[in-house]
Symmetry: C2
Subunit: 480 residues, 2 copies
């Protein structure tokens, strides 16, 4: 058979994790470098994953009463400066638009790094009485941050995200919304992407600029580092005060509103790769896989094979996203390699012997396990297998995280555990930002989150670093 040799060209994960990551991104055709500094092109295969994530998130947003809208990308300088703390948080990485055609603009514009200022300006106009509340609006768009060091999906000058912005009558309503969206993110990330996350509160120094409280979902990558996978902010009355979002309350008095914002981004795709990928390529969890099943006929030149493969395709195509790879110019082995690189969750082989026995062969991408499956009720068998793969991928990722999570009660142990490796460390913290900064300086590890109360453990009475009375148990880790 005259065909090119399949060249995988993926660096081994344990040899050079960063290069392995880049190899997967490029070779699986998830993204490519663009001819503009710090930007990437999201290629169709990577974008199809984003479309799945979007569907899973958007349907949940809508089911909880949210609607989508679109606000301008261009933000006048004066608007951003209204919320000084917030502006200072973003100004070093803001992109400035200064000219339109040949003419210098009367006021400089920035490319939005986030839309609190723009959206809250509109909300102050739209919100008049308590009857207008809550306002529950989301937008899917791209945002811009002039980052120095960039990597596809993980940190780019432009990235895609959704940003929800809501307005409420009371603090309690805002807090409930903040946590509701955090839970929706947990469902999308854990239940759809099979990536386990730890939920909790950010320390003050890691908080979003202008927020009262930032909640986060932290995932562990295969190399033991953390990836912040989504955030939900209770903005208190900070933005409502700055942007005059006031309303006539139920007693007829003028009241100041409470706002929230929350977001997830294409960064999640970077996390998906770094949690599930292996040395043979990407591994897609079935619920976000652009293609869930690939059918590869064996000895397809023999009579009846392609016909049976087509029958199989027809039996599956309405329930699953399925591809029939009957290209004559490539060998089955070549095809196996290609679809493994792309991470298609389930491969089905069908050849003359299988046809004789009225069966097919299932090969799981996640475990490489092979099984023989009768042709009867094949669609149900595929459905069950995809469910199993989805569940097992989540459990495997969780087990890997647990293996690399340690409790520490003294700083020697803390440093020893981080020596030459990346792990999650559970340890006590005094609550002091200076102490937190010292830990970061000494070890590179940051406080990823203060996990929710029900997960708090009393590992010791004192801070793992300074020895002063401890306030919380926290997760420490190096992070992307």
């Amino acid at each position: 058979m005259a065909q090119e040799k399949f060249v995988r060209e993926i660096t081994a994960r344990d040899v050079d994790f960063a290069q392995w990551y880049t190899d997967i991104v490029l070779k699986a055709e998830m993204a490519d470098y663009a001819p503009v500094r710090g930007c990437m092109v999201i290629r169709p295969y990577g974008f199809a994953v984003w479309e799945k994530i979007k569907e899973h998130a958007d349907s949940r947003f809508k089911a909880t009463g949210h609607t989508n809208a679109y606000f301008p990308m261009l933000i006048p300088e004066s608007l951003l400066q209204k919320e000084v703390d917030h502006f200072e948080g973003f100004s070093p990485e803001v992109l400035w638009i200064t000219h339109g055609g040949d003419e210098e603009l009367a006021e400089r514009l920035i490319a939005r790094p986030t839309s609190e200022t723009m959206i809250n300006t509109m909300y102050s106009k739209w919100v008049q009485t308590y009857r207008d509340l809550p306002v529950l609006i989301n937008q899917w768009c791209s945002v811009f941050r002039w980052e120095k060091t960039t990597r596809p999906f993980l940190r780019t000058v432009e990235f895609l995200w959704q940003e929800g912005h809501t307005v409420h009558e009371t603090y309690d309503d805002a807090q409930e919304e903040t946590l509701r969206m955090l839970e929706i993110y947990r469902q999308v990330i854990e239940d759809e992407m099979a990536v386990p996350v730890i939920l909790g509160l950010k320390s003050e120094s890691e908080r979003f600029a202008g927020a009262d409280a930032t909640y986060t979902l932290e995932a562990m990558m295969h190399d033991g580092k953390a990836l912040q996978s989504g955030t939900s902010h209770n903005l208190g009355q900070n933005f409502a005060n700055m942007f005059d979002i006031q309303f006539q309350d139920r007693e007829g008095k003028l009241a100041t509103a409470w706002t929230t914002s929350w977001g997830i981004s294409t960064r999640l795709i970077g996390g998906l790769i770094m949690v599930h990928g292996d040395d043979r390529g990407m591994v897609m969890p079935p619920r976000v896989a652009p293609t869930q099943v690939v059918i590869v006929p064996i000895a397809q030149h023999k009579e009846g094979v392609n016909e049976k493969a087509t029958d199989l395709f027809d039996a599956l195509k309405d329930r699953f996203s399925v591809k029939l790879d009957d290209r004559a110019q490539y060998s089955p082995g070549w095809k196996f390699n290609q679809w493994e690189l792309k991470g298609i969750p389930l491969r089905i082989e069908i050849g003359p012997k299988d046809i004789e026995k009225n069966q097919v062969v299932f090969v799981r991408r996640d475990t490489n396990e092979k099984s023989f499956v009768p042709m009867e009720n094949i669609a149900d068998a595929v459905g069950d297998m995809l469910d199993t793969i989805q569940k097992d991928m989540f459990e495997a990722a969780k087990a890997r995280r647990e293996e690399k999570t340690f409790s520490v009660d003294n700083f020697d142990d803390f440093q020893a555990k981080l020596d030459g490796q990346n792990v999650f460390l559970k340890g006590m913290w005094c609550g002091d930002a200076e102490c937190e900064a010292e830990i970061k300086e000494k070890t590179g590890a940051t406080i990823r989150c203060i996990p929710f109360e029900e997960e708090q453990e009393e590992l010791s009475d004192v801070c793992v670093h300074c020895g002063k009375p401890a306030k919380h148990m926290v997760y420490y880790a190096k992070a992307y």
Copy 2:
């Protein structure tokens, strides 16, 4: 009943069409002005229409083998200057990004006005052999044009659109794609939006910068002006030459590819309003209506009314997008006004007398016709009614267009027909760009398109303006 009076505040369409349009946009909460020059906020109700249009278009793109991707918004100056004709077409309205944080950029960037330059740069890297063809990629994004005069949806500094960019082996393949996408746009605009369009070729002076041929869909607005509603370009080898999109052909020789691009935008929503809206507000065609049916209970304080209205809602909610307006603080009349303003295609009233007779009342938004409909098989009756409304709205719009379309064979008649009114004029044209420019200068009318051959009529042997031998019959009109 203590309630505020419903204030519609819409200027009559025949008194001031431009103000009527703005009133509908703002009062129906389709969009709002943003605090940045020339930009709008697309509010949830307007955005929901865009989501419907997107679904209708995107599913057709995918059914014809296209996939979505995302390319950077930022385009380096050097890239844009590679295709000089193209750049000159856009440079007066380009937005320039000159600084990142405090630092001046080494190379200025522009905010994309369209993505041919960026996308074709990537294609030159991705396309190696004929096996890589065709490339069929689309992106949904926003684009930027620093326009002087702007109007919500019709012309804004930033707008949402999709841009398809494809690469082919042969001219024929590219031409077939160009026309395939034009037909998909026709289906979306006519079959889903109920807006009749005339399909044809643009004259050379109205052609997209860098295209060999631009095809268009032209709709007539209620005031008789034309709106270009979508375009599909056969780019020949112009971009492939500039960006080196070459491939090994079936004979093993190096060949230059053929490309196309095609787009529709949020401008379509402006067209939807100007074709279907009336003095009572927006009128939504059922297939793009965010809410298709509103149920208004009559005398809802009476026993059993709200229960029956809820039963009705439950009977419809799985098949249609339906709203039950059982707010106690507003009268039925107030609600009628509100939902008429929003343009919900079908209102269903249900009161004690209807319940007695086991019927409901249908009120069509498009014709205001009332009918009594038995409760049995109500969902089927609603489905039929929505289909009827959809069809009738299209036919009514087409009839209005035909009423305002005239054939002319001399320039006196041409000018007389355009005197004090806007109409579509069918007339002969010599094919000369200078003659075309003179017509525009004298009358304000431009050549909207050279309709497809099958619609060509031989109105005369000579050009309606200069009297030289005629080449085509064309549509002339003033346009948005």
